[in-house]
Amino acid sequence: MTEAAIVSTEHLSKWYGQVIGLNDVTLSVAGGVTGLLGPNGAGKSTLLKLITGQLKPSKGAVRVLGEPVWGNPAIYLRMGVCPEQDAFYDRMTGLEWLAALLRLQGYGEREAVAAGVAALEQVDLQEAANKRIGAYSKGMRQRVKLAQSIAHSPDLLILDEPLSGMDPLARRKTIRLLRTWAASGKNVIVSSHVLHEIEALTSNILLMHNGRVLAEGNVHQIRDLIDEHPHTVCIRSRHPRELARELVAHDDLLSLRFEDGAVYVQTARPDVFYARLTGMAAADPTGDIYEVTSPDDNLQAVFDYLVKS
């Protein structure tokens, strides 16, 4: 383990009964932004839960900011966690929820409200601060979840699929927020199954597959491989047919279908496609596009290819 490591693990393993969640992982994560990339079931969430002290290692050890994490609540003064699950106290307003959690961080009543308001502003939710979380859209729920993780200004931010379900503008804003956060000397570990999300945040990645770390290093090394595979994007819009009409006008689109009220597109050039989608969303102030997700099978195809080769 290196001295400067933000997170380090030694022969870290986690079993859920007979199922292996993480298999003998030894790694050292340096400061800055690190992306954890892998398809569904790769072990990303298990690794993040071990790093955040939600799970106890079956074998091996994990240290975060130089300290052991399991049974060490003081570590959460310096760590912010944005979990994957869409779970909230739905009857609370966004601000009430943040203030309540900040009070558990040690903030006084007024300071908690002030820090809560500031965090909601950072994720562009100030107008929904006094609205019940139960009435939030999926994207708003993602953002309020992010707000609770940054509100106490932690040194290390751990985000499990933070961009999932956000609309293109919120996605862009969140990426910008996380970049600014990292530029101020703080550290971020972010997981995703979408390379382009990670790529927008950092070039530093950990590739995971079947509970193991396949590779550590620069995202550009696997970039070309990814581009060889078609990428599926699910877009929810108030006017899906008009959106589809706009999208088919471009030659990077391989296929398009409607399913459960959403538009599913396959593109050969995800970078170009995402840039155009964000542009379309920005040009339409009515917020026609309200949710963008990327199914897990994109990366699975690439990993299958990598493992076979």
């Binding site: 859920y16 939600q54 609540p73 003081a74 003064l77 966690v81 779970a87 106290y89 961080q105």
Partner: protein
Amino acid sequence: MSADSTPRRPLSFLTATLRIFDIAVGQLLWSRRTVFMALAAGGPVVLALVLRALDASGVSALRVNGARVGGPVMFGGMIWLLYLRFVVPVLGAFYGTALVSDEVDDRTITYLFTRPIARGSIVVGKYLAYLACTVLVVLPSVMAAYVLLTPIGGGSIAETFPLLLADLGLLALGLAVYGAVFALIGASVPRPLVVSLILVFGWEQLALVVPGYLRQFTVAYYLQSLVPHAMPHDETMTAIQSLFSEPPSAPSSIFSLCLILVVALGFAAHALQTREYVLEQ
């Protein structure tokens, strides 16, 4: 808030407990179980209303061995059989088990587990919220039943008022002890509600009628020895009373109940502190 004013020390156990209490009170009052709590606490009041209405209309509602049963005796029976044997343990089971398991099932426990607080403070804070909520709902229901029933057959509220105070204390203690026991079950086992209901309607009922020392391993044994009311002299009632022919003394019962409460809550806090909760995705 700037990073400089960010707290850099974890909260003490007591402060964390009180802050969890703040969050949990609202959660409990708005939980799915609130309707059940209202029914459990409101049922005896409705029954008391019916009995009072029957009395007012000249119909003698309840007779034992041909003799008309007075209001204070009816109230005593209600405390013994309805509140102590049903309302208190069932509320304890429904709420006590939910303290931790609801957060785990809803997957919101992550937000509490990733705060700089001792995990044990989560269960203690929630337990105190449970106690506050149930006491605030059950005790007024008891008082309402008392006011409705006592005047039947010429009972005096002034004379029996000390008994009411004893009843209120007894039920609050019952809610506290059952809540702690079920909080432990909720923090320790899967499907805690099923286990708790088996404990209430299986183990406690069985152990109380089996001769020997088994009854000492029930909460009901100690609670019922503190009931200040005499039961009506009916054969069935007398048989029930005979089960407690050698009840422990009041101080011994109170000590035992307090011991059960502290040990159960301590183990519940320990379970939360050390147990790993794997949330369903």
